[in-house]
């Protein structure tokens, strides 16, 4: 699936909850629980995403020109958020990641929940993942 298709899928899933923000958050937490666990050795200070209110670990794996991510967080909602980013970008080439636009967060009606101070964490995750893509792209 393309990055666009995955985002559209996510938007369709969330649209079932309409305006029920509580259910959306519960769903997000469920998604977080389904995120494959990070290798314990990768859950180190070095892989903590800076600028998040809660702790987020992101570990990149490069395989055959594609980027895969392992991730975790100490808070359930943030873990749900990072799981969405992993779902969208894991297994994509650096070019695909770098040229993609993330529009799902607004479309699932959660930008105000993750907005302002809270968004710092989310945008930091996005920035960190793009940095890995940028580094891999340059190395190739």
């Amino acid at each position: 699936m393309t990055i666009t298709e995955i985002q559209d899928d996510i938007i369709a899933d969330f649209s079932l909850f309409e305006d029920d923000m509580e259910s959306k958050l519960f769903y997000l937490m469920d998604l977080g629980k389904r995120l494959p666990p990070i290798t314990p050795a990768h859950q180190t200070e070095e892989y903590i995403v800076k600028g998040c209110q809660s702790k987020v670990w992101l570990f990149p794996v490069f395989e055959e020109g594609k980027l895969f991510f392992e991730a975790d967080s100490n808070t359930e909602i943030t873990k749900g958020l990072v799981s969405l980013l992993v779902k969208i970008w894991s297994g994509k080439t650096p070019e695909e990641i770098l040229s993609s636009e993330l529009y799902f967060i607004e479309k699932i009606g959660m930008s105000h929940m993750i907005g302002s101070q809270r968004s710092n964490g989310f945008s930091s995750m996005i920035k960190q993942m793009k940095m890995y893509a940028f580094a891999l792209n340059k190395a190739q």
Partner: protein, 414 residues
Amino acid sequence: MSSKLLNIESIRKQFPILHQKVNGKDLVYFDNAATTQKPLSVIESLNTYYSLHNANIHRGAHTLADRSTGLFEATRKSVQAFINAAESEEIIFTKGVTESINLVAQSYGRKFLTAGDEIILSQMEHHSNIVPWQIIAEETGAIIKVMNIHPNGELDMVHYQSLLSVRTKIVSCVWASNALGTINPIKDIIALAHQFNAVVMIDGAQAGSHIEIDVQDLAIDFLALSSHKLYGPTGLGVLYGKRKLLEAMPPYQGGGEMIKEVSFEKTTYNSIPFKFEAGTPNIGDVIAFNEAIIYVTVLGKDAIAQYEQSLLTHFVNGLYALQNTFGEKAISLIGTAKNKVAVQSFVMENKHHFDIGLMLDAKGIAVRTGHHCTQPLMHYYGIEGTVRASFAFYNTVEEIDILLESLKKMLERG
């Protein structure tokens, strides 16, 4: 929605901000320890000031300046009465509690502290009552000593007495803890400190809106108050200081208003309170603050305290009921002192406070999550942060039930 002494329904009508939807739900505002909402009288006062009276105060020959000066100084008199200060000159307007404490630390501390002198703080202080003292201690060589607390969040007064000595020059202590709600026995704290000729600074940020204040009866040396935690505008606070202390202190900042005469050879300073109010003050907010003081005074601190205690009791009982259902560890109360303002912190097992805060926001409930600027206190409890619900007289039992119901739902989900 009732109280024997207060008509909560009519009070709520005076607070327009409360009547809105957040995430599709009625706003439930339980973040009053961070800032309180403003009654219409305060909001209208700001509007009136800028529509009719705005002029720079003092030394003005024109009518508007005279009017705004009169209104500004009227608030000083109101604050004096509100805390029963001996004189209105002992009331200094600042940016807030943080600036009030910094003023005392920088002015009194710099003049009177020398190497080896001791400053006593407590384990439950807000960072605003720690860092200013650390800065001045580093500059002067003074040493900071920390009063222990008991697990329920009460001060260890025996430990306090063991810290006091002839080396103690300053004791700076919070009246009501922002994170725990504990009301500290400041009358005893002050009396004991005075036996060693130490001066006492009281951080009254949380106390101002809940507790009757009589600085003379309590023999408070310095008291810091916040306007915005007392239903007044933000960016404004008060420093009360005894005249003889304030007069002995050098100015904190230089500028307009605080001088008597300026020449390049020598500048002489104005008398108190102006010596400590350099520059154009926060005139509009000071004037509107008067309305907040009037509002609280008319309701009556006793009636407010009584009603807020009933809210706190209802919430605490609800938390204990959740413990009965889901187990003691599922939800733990942080801060269970006997004497408390209407603030309750709690943590939930396997639930991060950040998640709880967002989940509650989804239901329109505003609480504060995190360390509440009291990291040493969080270290003491071995936690990163808490969820804190803090109540005001416009809150209701029905709102608390909405919060308890949301917590129950989270616990059921596991």
